[in-house]
Symmetry: D3
Subunit: 238 residues, 6 copies
């Protein structure tokens, strides 16, 4: 029995609220149960140095947690004067995940800047961020098409993410904070709408895991991602 009473292959309730704030070209509040992340997508009329003059665009992400999004207050990174290693690791992951479904040459010399800010954390903030950021990015791209900034959509596929793990010896899907803290293995899986893997990050915090457990976790991930992509489609009315 999982602490939340969920079945081993059951996601938490997922909601994707578009147009959550009004300034960004895309703005989505994503909830995976009690984990709530505000994902905005901004269209910037510039590209980083390594893309200048290339005719190609760029997709990148930043991530942050509000100081009291967590159970005990964390230091504010802006006040401490630097982002933690964990923060950088997560924002690099979000950026790579989104780029995997973007055709940068169709984006033109624009940057799609994603900002994922955790309002409330209960495990799985990076997987919720990726799942929500895709919807925000999609909305931003629609704005670009409407404005005539680009002629065709650079979005080649959906992308979503979910965590899987081994808790009390059992493979489970979409861990919340309590399960995550106690589990032996935690793996974040990022997949496309067509079912290809784009990122896989697994860590055994306790007992190492076996090939069989690996296979079981990947099956759960495929199952979960399919539902998340379905939720993205519904939110976008596709």
């Amino acid at each position: 029995m999982r602490p939340s009473g969920r079945a081993a292959d059951q996601l938490r309730p997922v909601t994707l609220t578009r147009h959550y704030t009004r300034h960004a070209e895309g703005s989505v509040l994503v909830a995976f149960g009690d984990t709530k992340v505000l994902c905005t997508a901004s269209v910037l009329d510039k590209v980083p140095p390594h893309k200048r003059g290339s005719g190609e665009g760029w997709v990148t992400a930043e991530y942050g947690m509000l100081p009291r999004s967590t159970n005990t207050r964390s230091d504010r990174e802006a006040a401490r004067g630097k982002q933690s290693g964990r923060t950088q690791e997560i924002q690099r992951l979000i950026g790579r995940s989104l780029r995997s479904v973007f055709d940068l040459s169709a984006l033109g010399e624009y940057t799609l800047q994603l900002d994922c800010d955790v309002l409330q954390a209960d495990g799985g903030t990076r997987t919720a961020s990726i799942t929500g950021a895709f919807v925000a990015a999609y909305d931003a791209v629609s704005t670009m098409l409407e404005k005539g900034q680009i002629a065709t959509s650079p979005v080649r596929d959906f992308v979503a993410a979910v965590s899987v793990g081994i808790a009390n010896g059992v493979p489970v899907l979409d861990l919340d904070y309590i399960e995550d803290s106690a589990c032996d293995t935690d793996m974040n899986v990022v997949m496309t709408g067509q079912g290809g893997f784009v990122e896989l990050q697994g860590t055994a915090e306790g007992t190492p895991f076996s090939r069989d457990e690996m296979n079981a976790m990947m099956q759960l991930a495929e199952h979960g991602i399919a539902q998340l992509v379905q939720a993205q489609r519904q939110a976008l009315g596709l």
Copy 2:
């Protein structure tokens, strides 16, 4: 005629949503029209060095804007590695304002840490922050009383804030972003529930202002603060 169609002495619609997130001892989403700030109050079982062993507590605040809370995206301060002068100025103001109604000796050796994070900005983020932070602080104090961490409430009065200014030669209350950008003078006023002034910060960006204009602005501020304190009372059910 003001850009928003409001009367010169009219506030924007004010809402104070308590328990907006679940981890913090106090968590309030305050809206002054389209300006939306999440204010959390955290009870920390420690005090800064200058209060250690004094038997007194401390009240302090930090402030931040999500990168795309504004019309054009601002750099993330955590990524830039430092808080701007504006940010530090605002969080110092919030801290002083809240401390003005706290009896630190009744707080015990605890810190009440306020975090004001702007989700959406449309002018007046610092005044909304102070007004919302008071409600979050009040809730956190209630939690402390319930847990028996303190015996009597350290809250001596209400505190709220509003901006006033001279726009097109006319004194106006609670400026939104459009008015703020174009006005000659912008003044932030912080007052207690009993009508005393605790902070006054006025800047003439265009034509200097006169004693008469000053008096007119202060009258507007008194009028606005009275309504804000009333909104705080209602939100708290007092």
Copy 3:
């Protein structure tokens, strides 16, 4: 009776020593009693990004305290690796105050960089800085006119600053360190030579202040500023 023996509406002795150091286009040692600040004005042949190509110039300020300008030694900000919130707040105030009397379009694409460094502190360092910086800026402008860098003076008015407060229940002018530490309310007022207000920053550290006290303080400020502008005129031989 004030600690210094002064009358409630009496300034400390004010001196403005021009050409205090030899490299800067303007260099003034300002003393408000025992508070001594070296104000230099440098003419830089460049403007910040937001002014490039605009044909307009910029006026900005930086502020610092020598580590042992104070009674107990403060950390050197350069060694600590950042400027405090207080320092940034003050230098932003000095910059805004000076800009309020400058016609930036008459300045051409030059930056007037003010540096206010406190050699000895006894309260009122920010008001002395503004008052002295104006004289240094005026001298720098004269140099620019002599060199033909500009055709007409961009200086539209005088600007000076003074603190007022409520100490032991009595409104007083130009607080020194002892009074400042003990007073209920401290307000910094920046005014033009023609008597308009450009900045007002009041804080009640103890009891909140009333509208009547506010009026009394503003009257004292007007009285003090008039004398300071007179001192500036004399120093400049105008």
Copy 4:
């Protein structure tokens, strides 16, 4: 055909040179072909705050690249004033990997500090670092046993790491820089001597990868790790 002429399942020549420098308790130069990393293990008589008084020790790692270890010179991180996100990601991975085979309670309140500095890079610096750091850590533990700092060895198993990937559609083992730059998928795998997985980090830079490709890569990884653990045994004379 791979650029290096190796078979798909062939490692580069691996050498592990112990006692490479003389001050550290463990000092190993590890070479995976042209990738050369100096791994030192230092025994520190202190633990981080979260372990103080726990009776347990800690194992942690830092990573760096000499500026000209790479084909074109990279900025020195000490001169730039911060470690890149990539560096932090790698040093966190090395630390977690080593901790997975350590019994921290048998280590006593000591920190085993690993430093992995890349002298020459040709792909796979993080996997070489983990493989070499284990040998350095083992030597440092032997020193602790000799000195009587600990009574029994906290080392529970071997740990080593290797990269696998899909290059030109073919699963390959231990990618060098040329292959790594051009491949579709790159995965770093960390395993224990007994064949359990402790870390898995896979990224599809081009085409997403399938479950079948995933399986093929894991088989290659198992094959490679077995050889690396054998090399560790030989180097340690076990």
Copy 5:
């Protein structure tokens, strides 16, 4: 002929003004011609970690230049967020020079903190700083003796510094900025009152220098230092 018209072995006019500011235990304005440095000595009731519990004190120094002490404005180090390599080099030199004449065990567990801030620069700021800092330190020690913080003076000798160089092939004493910019060799020499060398830092910016030139420069330095120590004696009334 030197640019200043001085003889090759002639110092610039030297003045040492004690009690220049009022808060510090020692406060000296030293002038070497147009080079003017404010040197303060602060007595701190603490020592750095490596001296705690040793019964010994510490002497250390910090150095800074006001942004417009130089001909063209330099960036403010506090604003840039770090001290330059040059600044650190100089403050380390001042600290070592002063420590060379202090008996740290007679100082007790106090720190004598020297601050040398350049108000106006014309070459030789580091030698003026050392020469002035000694007088400030001596005054601070007198204060400590008066207050009974220490029983006997820890000052064992005088210490002063001067620059020598080869300009246009001729060995010269006490270079000003013009000479310093154009000379082949610049050497800073720190000596005690009894004529021992404590620091020597020579750099050939153009042609390397010979043993003979070295000897000539050292003779000039001895000559100059004797006069500077004499000026220190007179300033201190010894």
Copy 6:
């Protein structure tokens, strides 16, 4: 008798291993006894701002110590976020020393970037760095000549460095760590192949030194440098 058993005027065994790593245009491992420094010279197709458009090149250096190159582990400067004053002082010295034998106008608009990283330290790391960096720079220049980047060599002379000191009252050459820690005076001397002095940095940590001791140390330095230049010639096959 010296701790190492060497005669007073005897160097430690010196080795200069060229082509130590493969990416840099020049790469030399220099050993002065147990002090081992990897010196690389990189040819960069850019110059710092003050040389742009001048037709001249630049030679500069950075220095670092691996955390466990020393007897007890030092903090990693990249992790601490800044280079120490000592590091900056040393890398500035290396840069100046190398520039002293370079004709920057013959180098063209290239930067020769030297990186000196200490793998193992036993005193004299800065003198070994300079001596090794010259050989690496020479190799890099040869590469530039071969590639036709420059037409004639900008190298005008050899440059090498050695330490001398007064230990137990006796002048000695090339101090190792034990001697360096205990000596009264330590002086680093940089000379050209033709016997000119380019840098001299002497510090009396205990008793000040006399003119006679100075002369004795300089004689030892000349003797040592001659041997080091001979070792450079042999390593380069000149």
